[in-house]
């Protein structure tokens, strides 16, 4: 575990210009990654803190976030219990363009982008009561081809119009205090060109490609390449909704005819060879207009259905060396996104290894339907095989055919179905930030991948009461401390770190996330009913349990030596409701409960997961696959800022936390329920 310490660096230099400049003595530079779990750090005489966020309707009253859709309000607040030297009073608050530390050093003038500073009154006893709107939705978001304009926020404590000693700033690093981001589902600023071409050097009969590129590509530098591999019975021309969109944002897209009918090996081969052929024939494709404009080091593969499994198999072939490309390398593949993939092959073949991996699933999928009847449709399994950064987006009401643009049937079964237009807008909303994450590590878009849709929506949200978007978010190339992933110490009373786990909840069971029979019919002794994340020989595990009265709980011990939580940004876990269980069907809707940290003195800090705008989603209310109503269990990630546990002066010593406890029952949230829990961890991702 790493603690949140300022990395040592050389003397930085004094601030220049203007009257009353404070001389900030050099000291270590703050890390680029935002690890300010304690909400503030004193650095170079400044109070660096998170100020910007959104108010909540319940404790902790306010949460600090970084990303806002264009046209949506931005709030700021302070929690005096966590901000050390700042005292209640009126201050001038400035919203300024983001500057790096060096830029602040060159110019510490406070120039408010809104035209003038704002007088704010921070006098409340709680962070919630101090919440003020600092922008109603007017801040600029147009960053050209980039996503997100960064802003810093300064509380000018000494009122001198400069960033100087004693001021509070949200920002002061490569990463801005907050970002305003254009709705990623909107097309970008460029005009896209679409063309149908053929390439040589691929299997005869499969030479065709449908490509998209910016019309002004000749004047651009090198841009990333996105390759799309369709599914069985699908067509390479059915992804123009993505091709046009990505091209308008400055990418080149190549969708190829995919050899899916024989199976996954042939599908993977077409992904590999088409990527090679396209890159190798740029001097002749479209008259050579793309030649010199593809960044071969930035390739993303998107695959649908058998193509979704095919791209993973393709990556595995690169990894194992069974396919050696001519025009690109393994490391050039920056990430995968599999749309409703099949799982024909074993984990030694359909293996994402350590490539960043993203999964789409549609709960109304009538083809790769996710029923427990066959592991071929255990769509979540590939996600479980991914060893590094992994994400997923699970959509209620979305059928297999909704993801493409080929018309015809949505290939959907179930209530409240989502149409193609809605599905495509959802895809664009997440795929563009995903591409930016894979290619650029853009901090402005990270929150698109995990914030719950209930509270993070565009100013013009997708219309429709059937839209339910659920996400998992597990960055693994960041520092993290796994409390329990249920893979080691396979005893439900011992967590992954060897600490004790105790239960007063009902019928707690730890085991492989594999439905024991071939359907979702409820049975009291089928504890993993509805789970399709694991199969024989691939034992991905979790714990499931229920509750029916107040105070029932699960508690994980934090082992000694790891109890200082101040260096962690979030407590994270993934949770799902267990389908068709009477405790799940008793009340349809999100399940909520309390998460509590307890320090070694017995003090506690408690937060209801519903405080942030959503709970654990109800299973999609689809029938078949046995009797009853409710489709496969699906996880979503719950992330709670560690610092929020001590909001408003809560007496809690984050440096000596001995346990994490989940508390259930009507006083803590939902009166009854049955859920699965996995991947409980502390993270800086």
């Amino acid at each position: 575990m790493t603690t949140n310490k300022l990395v040592a660096a050389s003397l930085f230099g004094a601030l220049l210009g203007g009257l009353g400049n404070a001389q900030l003595l050099g000291s270590p530079a703050p890390p680029v990654e935002d690890q300010r779990s304690n909400n503030f750090e004193v650095y170079q005489g400044l109070l660096i803190a998170e100020i910007v966020g959104r108010p909540l309707g319940q404790y902790p009253g306010f949460t600090f976030v970084q990303t806002f859709y264009e046209g949506t309000p931005v709030s700021a607040s302070v929690d005096f219990s966590r901000l050390g030297s700042l005292t209640p009073g009126s201050y001038e608050l400035f919203v300024v363009e983001n500057r790096t530390q060096g830029q602040w050093g060159a110019n510490n003038q406070l120039t408010d982008v809104r035209g003038s500073s704002q007088t704010v009154s921070f006098v409340g006893a709680t962070v919630g009561s101090n919440s003020v709107t600092i922008d109603a939705g007017t801040l600029a978001a147009d960053a050209g081809l980039q996503l997100g304009i960064g802003y810093d926020v300064v509380i000018d404590v000494d009122g001198n119009g400069l960033l100087s000693t004693g001021d509070v700033i949200d920002g002061y690093s490569e990463q801005a205090g907050f970002y305003i981001v254009r709705d990623p589902s909107e097309d970008g600023p460029l005009t896209s060109v679409e063309s149908n071409i053929t390439v040589t050097g691929v299997k005869a009969g499969f030479e065709a490609e449908n490509i998209f590129y910016p019309s002004n590509i000749a004047s651009m530098g090198k841009v990333p390449l996105i390759v799309i591999s369709h599914g069985n019975g699908h067509n390479y021309t059915w992804y123009d909704h993505l091709g046009t969109h990505f091209a308008s944002w400055g990418f080149v897209v190549m969708s190829h005819r995919n050899d899916t009918v024989p199976g996954i090996e042939t599908a993977s081969q077409t992904t590999l060879t088409h990527t090679d052929a396209f890159l190798g024939q740029l001097d002749s494709i479209e008259g050579g207009i793309l030649d010199g404009h593809i960044d071969v080091n930035k390739i993303m593969w998107i695959g649908h259905s058998r193509g979704g499994e095919g791209i993973v198999r393709a990556y595995d072939k690169l990894y194992d060396g069974t396919y050696v490309p001519t025009n690109y390398e393994l490391d050039d593949i920056r990430g995968l996104s599999s749309i409703a993939p099949t799982i024909f092959l074993s984990n030694s073949q359909t293996d994402p290894h350590d490539v960043p991996f993203h999964l789409w699933t549609g709960a109304a999928d009538a083809d790769v339907n996710g029923c427990a009847s066959t592991s071929i449709v255990y769509t979540f399994l590939t996600h479980e095989r991914a060893l590094q950064d992994r994400y997923s987006t699970h959509l209620h009401g979305v059928g297999h055919g909704a993801f493409h643009n080929g018309g015809g049937s949505l290939v959907a079964s179930g209530p409240c179905q989502v149409n193609r237009a809605q599905t495509h807008r959802i895809m664009k909303t997440y795929l563009l930030p995903l591409a930016h994450t894979y290619f650029y590590g853009n901090p402005a878009v990270k929150e698109f991948l995990w914030r719950q849709d209930e509270e993070f929506q565009a100013a013009n949200p997708i219309a429709g009461n059937c839209i339910f978007i659920n996400k998992t978010y597990q960055p693994r190339t960041v520092s993290r401390y796994v409390i329990d992933d249920f893979q080691t110490n396979r005893n439900k009373f011992i967590n992954s770190q060897g600490g004790a786990v105790s239960f007063t909840v009902l019928t707690a069971s730890e085991g492989a996330m594999d439905d024991p029979d071939s359907n979702f019919t409820y049975s009291s002794n089928e504890w993993m009913n509805g789970m399709t994340y694991s199969i024989t020989g691939e034992l991905w595990r979790a714990v499931v349990f229920g509750w029916d009265t107040d105070g029932q709980d699960v508690e994980w011990e934090i082992v000694a030596g790891n109890r200082d939580l101040r260096g962690w940004s979030h407590l994270s876990f993934r949770a799902c409701q267990v389908t068709r269980d009477p405790s799940t069907t008793a009340v349809l809707g999100d399940v909520t409960f309390e998460v509590q940290l307890r320090d070694e003195d017995g003090n506690t800090g408690t937060i209801n997961i519903g405080a942030y705008g959503g709970g654990v989603e109800e299973p999609y209310q689809r029938t078949s696959c046995g009797t009853g109503t409710g489709w496969a269990n699906f996880f979503e990630t719950i992330r709670i800022p560690v610092a929020d546990f001590e909001a408003d002066g809560t007496v809690l010593d984050l440096s000596r936390i001995e346990a994490v406890r989940f508390v259930f029952g009507p006083s803590s949230g939902s009166a009854v329920g049955r859920i699965g829990i996995d991947d409980l961890e502390l993270t800086n991702g």
Binding site: N232, G233, V261, G263, E265, S305, T374, H404, G408, V411
Partner: protein, 218 residues
């Protein structure tokens, strides 16, 4: 009457492309797919209605037959045009019924799911007079190995699957080759085979003419 002993390898030069006029076939919605994979009863030769055309082929530059686990090289075989139950040709993501000629899993060149007319590549010069044509159990063709194929043939035969009658084969050769005294048509490579197959798609499955044009790299 197909007599394999009389077949000789003779280079047959493909002349001008004889593209048949496109029939005004009824076409269902693009992208329309049935959602349930039909269960195939063993010996479902009843799902294979007729053999429309047959052409014995040779390939100078052999290529791998990806529709079998062994991925054997194809240097000779058949092109066949079949009329089958279109429901069994609908492509799903999960496994679909595999089409066999004797103990060979064949490559389906076009979809055929709209009309039931499918052009297939048989990877060996099997005796059509003794080989039943049938749908077997759902599987990924690339995973179908020798033992599976033999098992499927046994099941089909036990269930009563029979080869097409001699008269039907003669008629198919007549239509495919231009005579029942068929000689092997030699193609340079797989691409050349596909270009010829495109003609049959125009003729037998004109609703897939766009795909046929693609095979011709048009």
């Amino acid at each position: 009457m197909v007599d394999s002993k009389r077949m000789t390898s003779k280079r047959f030069l493909i002349g001008t492309l004889a593209m048949m006029a496109l029939a005004a076939a009824a076409v269902t919605a693009v992208g329309d797919r049935r959602e349930v994979v039909p269960e195939v009863v063993a010996g479902s030769s009843e799902n294979v209605h007729s053999i429309l055309a047959a052409l014995p082929i040779g390939v100078t530059s052999s290529f791998a037959h990806d529709w079998s686990a062994e991925r054997a090289q194809v240097s000779s075989g058949w092109l066949l045009a079949l009329e089958v139950n279109p429901e069994l040709l609908v492509r799903h993501q999960s496994a679909d019924p595999v089409l066999y000629v004797g103990d060979l899993a064949v490559e389906r060149i076009n979809s055929g799911d709209l009309s039931g007319r499918v052009i297939v590549l048989v990877p060996e010069r099997i005796d059509l007079a003794t080989a039943p044509i049938f749908f077997g159990a759902a599987a990924l063709p690339e995973s179908v190995d020798t033992s599976t194929r033999k098992l499927e043939l046994t099941r089909a035969t036990n269930a009563g699957a029979k080869p097409f009658a001699a008269s039907a084969l003669e008629a198919a050769l007549e239509r495919g080759f231009g005579g029942s005294d068929a000689e092997t048509v030699e193609f340079q490579d797989r691409r050349a085979v596909l270009e010829f197959a495109a003609q049959w798609i125009f003729e037998f499955a004109p609703e897939e003419s766009d795909f046929a044009k693609e095979l011709l790299l048009l």
